[in-house]
Symmetry: C3
Subunit: 341 residues, 3 copies
């Protein structure tokens, strides 16, 4: 019997299975510093303890996407080692901030399976929950992936979960204590508050970042994501490594500071598609479209729902005439962030 992990195949998943993922991780200021080195992140709440305290938090939390990548990375050996494609995200909710010193673990429950008609693969839906050392949930999201079958054969009963198209504003979790009563827009970097944005508004975030092989590998390793395609140049004739989709998410989110500096905390991930692969040498740009504006349970704390698009092309272009993603589009993400009203 081999001692190495060959990953799970479609047959290895059954609805109701609960998988505890390995390798808990204690975070420190080192992860935060690396995040700032890897992405042009400038959100004041994630940069300054003083700014965060002024917003009612005990200190500056780690970027919400550090939490996402860390929780996600742990699931790779159990969920996506034999994945053909990462198909989507839904019902993502950030439930508590993560601070240096916190230790994160991940657990996934299989909530859906559907064999493909070719009998060679199938789709698996999992709900993944990240927890801290106190047992508190910090993040929960659904992801579905297409996974190879070990061998062709009978299909298990199909279970397709019903997923909300978006998190309702009333279900957004505002972190304990957070307020924007003494919000310093000068230090945050921009004057625009929720009331200054309009549904349908498109923001070109202007700047571009050209990606290098070593950067995306540093990032992907940092999240202990073991997917071979990101690290091994012998997988492709051109020697390029497929860039982890989450790297593109973080790049685009960081670039979106320019125009959305006050979209401070990500609290929900409604949907997401990695429209086209990203490779070293690509220059990644980003644009956002305002999808919805809402209040939250906390006075003064608004919520902005955004489509965040990472692209190698022009701002505002998402799909071609046939309804498919334009070839330059890398990412189409639908999320909620908290913003001063």
């Amino acid at each position: 019997m081999t001692k190495t992990n060959a990953g799970r195949f479609f047959e290895d998943y059954a609805v109701g299975d609960v998988i505890t993922h390995a390798v808990p991780r204690t975070m420190s200021g080192g992860e935060r510093a690396l995040y700032h080195a890897l992405y042009p992140a400038r959100g004041a709440l994630y940069s300054s303890d003083e700014f965060a305290r002024n917003c009612g938090l005990p200190a500056s939390p780690l970027d919400d996407l550090i939490t996402f990548h860390t929780v996600f990375g742990k699931t790779v050996p159990d969920v996506s080692l034999n994945a053909i494609a990462n198909l989507g995200y839904a019902e993502g909710r950030w439930l508590a901030p993560v601070y240096p010193g916190d230790t994160l673990t991940s657990v996934s429950e299989v909530i859906g399976i559907k064999q493909n008609s070719n009998g060679k693969s199938g789709v698996v839906w999992v709900r993944t929950t990240g927890r801290n050392q106190h047992g508190a949930d910090v993040l929960s999201y659904v992801r579905w992936v297409m996974v190879r079958k070990r061998s062709e054969g009978d299909a298990p009963a199909t279970v397709v979960p019903t997923l909300a198209p978006a998190i309702a504003p009333s279900d957004l979790q505002v972190p304990d204590g957070l307020h924007f009563n003494d919000y310093d827009a000068t230090l945050a970097g921009e004057p625009h508050r929720l009331r200054d944005y309009a549904v349908g508004e498109v923001i070109d975030h202007v700047d571009g970042v050209t990606v290098e092989e070593s950067e995306h590998m540093l990032a992907t390793r940092l999240w202990q994501n073991t997917s071979k395609v990101h690290f091994d140049a012998t997988n492709r004739a051109d020697g390029k490594r497929l860039i982890y989709g989450g790297h593109v998410i973080s790049l685009a989110r960081a670039l979106s500071f320019n125009g959305l500096a006050n979209a401070q905390m990500i609290v929900a991930l409604n949907a997401g598609a990695h429209a086209n692969p990203c490779f070293a040498g690509d220059t990644v740009r980003a644009w956002s479209e305002v999808l919805e504006l809402a209040e939250t349970a906390v006075a003064g704390v608004g919520a902005i729902r955004l489509r965040l698009v990472a692209t190698k092309g022009a701002a505002g272009v998402l799909r071609t005439d046939d309804g498919k993603y334009a070839p330059d589009v890398l990412l189409d993400l639908d999320y909620w962030a908290l913003m001063p009203l």
Copy 2:
């Protein structure tokens, strides 16, 4: 109205304007570790808490250039986004060490403006001050840049500030408590004290470092410097990104350990010129010339004034016969450091 920052143009500056720069930053051991990964830095005072305590400090401070880059980076969106050239530095003084846990902010005052005769651009002088969370100044320096005009037109009244050619030794700020009474030269790495150096002495720091695209981008992002030219390969036909001048400063200063291991703390920046651009693939070397030797207000703590030159060529070569910087020279920096007498 666009929500993104188009940067200021020459017309947007008036003498006396005070600009509070955005995005305060809390430092940690992560920034220090990254500094050690990005530059061959070996100064014992910045590497070891024990060594720093033995010199009267409460712990090892962050490298003085981490403070410089962090304070400088914050000014970029307000001062140099539309800059044509970074023209010079003067009157730089480090006023207090920065430790992990400190939060830095930057403020700049416009102290001079002078429209160019072509009517298309002008020079702006700003005095930038970095402060910690206690409101104490940690760094102050003057920088002047050439900035584009939004449109041609009348010139404002010219104000050219009077700047000291160098900080006087009596104005050098020795950090509270610092002493070299129990200085351990073995652990510091070299036996040479201030008295062992002579004005006019030239030191070839021997080693070279070949720069990669990903390294300078990691560094420049870490300081939250948003200047497009450092990150976007589509700005130039050859796909190279112009390397942040501060990256070259840190490389040269770190290389200068070999021969100047006891030039422990940078306390003043008298002048500086980025003589030629640096690109990935360049192998950066450094040499120093001793300009002045002085005592400070603290017994046993001397000050050495150094010309630090980063070059792709030979040590000792600074200018060609016509008085211009030799094409291999990247940086010509004039600074004061503290050294055991």
Copy 3:
């Protein structure tokens, strides 16, 4: 007299010399985070404070190889600046874990010298000891290198130290408090305990990592290793930089998680050879062979002796018919790790 360090030549070593190496180093969570970014490290004990506490330690220590690289890096300016080759390691013992906040120093004693018959170089053996700020030894190992002579001439008396072929299991230092009584194999990542391994068993660790110039330079600088060959592209016609052998050790050890997730702590380095040079662009893979299984002084804590091979080729291939290392083999390392019985 030049002020820069030209390094020691063979004539500069005498048996009994004790060299205190410069630049003590205080570690933080930043070094740990960088280690996770640079290597695909997933050992639970080095990733999670909670996991480490569950094993009886006060917190998660820094990776044992961080200790090794840091202690080793300090010796380079005194031992291997003029080295022609790094010939071997022996009698390596990790004596106490290193935690964020600890400060490391290195001392080496010359224990052997032997001039080569060509009169132009010789072999020097040193025993290097790393210590923390409390004066406790954290690591001790013997290394021997071939060093240039300054000039040809008479040979000093030859002293060749007697070195153990391997550390005896009874000499392995189990850290104070360490136990595996409540070991969580699910969180560790694999179910295999010491009893599940057999002497002679070969494990292919499957995954490959393609190395980039910037990554190995970031790593090597982080350990303050100043060897020119790793940083200066002008040293070779092809512009490649020779990769620090320790970078390959860390890559291979991290890859070996897949099949050896429970080989938690490295406690001894019995022998090691850098079989062939590694360069950017190489895709590094790893395989292990189980050499010995043993108990330790602590009930429940077993020890596994492993041959760890880094290679650009197939698993299991070590030498060609002539007894030499196969050209694809980069590293052949013999070490002891602690594992639940």
